[in-house]
Amino acid sequence: MIKKAILFPLVGLLLFLLGVELTASLLTTNGRSEASPEKVVPLHVLMEKNRILRKKITDLAPRGVYIVIDTGRNLLYLREGNRTLLQAVISSGSGSILRDPEGGRQWVFDTPRGEFEVKAKVTGPKWIKPDWAFIEEGEKIPKDWKQRVEEGVLGDYALGFGNGYFIHGTLYKRLLGRNVTHGCIRVGDEELSTLFKIARVGTKIYIF
């Protein structure tokens, strides 16, 4: 009796699964779907179209050197075409959240992703501390802007890429390779110097 009570539902389940599998296999394919039928186009026209399309894609790629930043692995590459000219270990955004206890403001410290370009090159950069830097340290936000200026924390050079984000040096070299920043890209001194020499205003930056 017990055997039947187990056997019947089990056989039923197996038959149901078999039915599902058979029906699904009739409705599916893992092959290529044929492209919709097109009017016959001569071979040379297809080849020319292929060449034009390839050129159009190539034309979208940056000319000269460009910077690629892998925020997951914390690596920066300076490339020209498919050639890597420089590889550097970096620190990028921590992804942390900071809330202003006295106001409704909130900051998320992510490194922005997408396509950017070098907008400014600065030698001996000074850090103009934003509001979040004071809130994070539990200090009062100063009224005098001079109290916001901090020297020597951004290294010898900085490359600005918009919205207050920079590729700059760091005092925390031990943290290179980690996601610890407020969104900027920290680079070691030697690599930063090379990067600063080669990159120009307008050099494309790809962050992912």
């Binding site: 779907s33 399309l53 997951g72 992804g95 031990r174």
Partner: protein, 228 residues
């Protein structure tokens, strides 16, 4: 007579080994041309799709499922403006799709995982330096990303991503999950067919760090182009 029979046998054998010798070279050339034109037509459609993606701002994914096509195993590339930012090798993949489903660029609508990574909230008054000295660094990093998750593109393409299992228990878990997922996909395929909707399921296995990197890099709205 024996010689003729032997010659006939030899010709028959050659015909079996080299069947094309028996076919009309004109027909063979026509077939080659047709195949070449078909490949070019399909290639142009893909190039046109990629050109559209590359001309937009933002990174996109190209999942190339062609095997032994001269470029080695199947690959997943993170691209921007036509340049490869990073390429991930697929250890394994499987594809099931409704008949007639055509791969077109699709936008990422959802990232699904049981344990999504959580952002850390900074407590004011506790700075970088202090955390560094006390060894309490706890930021969101690649290692915190899940190794098993689902990416849903345009509500029609479901990409299940998993890391290659390392030990026996995880291998067993991986197999059981694949079977359950297969049955579930079958049910969804039948249900979608009833509703007149076409869907596709791709299951990919990557190295652990690559699976985490894909979760890290994929953003809602990001497009994918699948090449089969």
């Amino acid at each position: 007579m024996k010689k003729i029979a032997r010659l006939f046998k030899l010709l028959l054998l050659l015909g079996l080994i080299f069947p094309s010798l028996g076919t009309d070279p004109k027909i063979s050339a026509e077939e080659d041309l047709r195949q070449r034109m078909k490949a070019l037509r399909e290639g142009n459609l893909l190039l046109e799709a990629e050109r559209r993606l590359a001309s937009k701002k933002g990174s996109y994914l190209v999942l190339d499922l062609r095997r032994n096509s001269g470029e080695g195993s199947a690959k997943l590339a993170i691209k921007n403006r036509g340049i490869v930012l990073r390429e991930l090798s697929l250890l394994r993949y499987s594809l099931r799709k409704s008949k007639g489903f055509v791969f077109e660029p699709m936008a990422l609508a959802q990232k699904g995982t049981f344990f999504p990574p959580k952002r850390k909230e900074i407590k004011p008054g506790k700075t970088d330096g202090a955390e560094e000295s006390s060894g309490e660094l706890d930021f969101l990093e690649l290692k915190d990303m899940p190794t098993s998750y689902k990416l849903v593109f345009s509500e029609t393409l479901f990409v299940s991503v998993g890391a290659a299992p390392q030990d026996l228990p995880s291998k067993v878990f991986h197999t059981v999950r694949s079977v359950v997922r297969h049955i579930f996909h079958s049910l969804v395929l039948i249900w979608s067919h009833i509703k007149g909707k076409e869907v596709a399921f791709i299951e990919i296995t990557l190295a652990k760090e690559d699976a985490q990197a894909l979760y890290w890099s994929s953003e809602i709205g990001m497009n994918i182009l699948v090449i089969q």
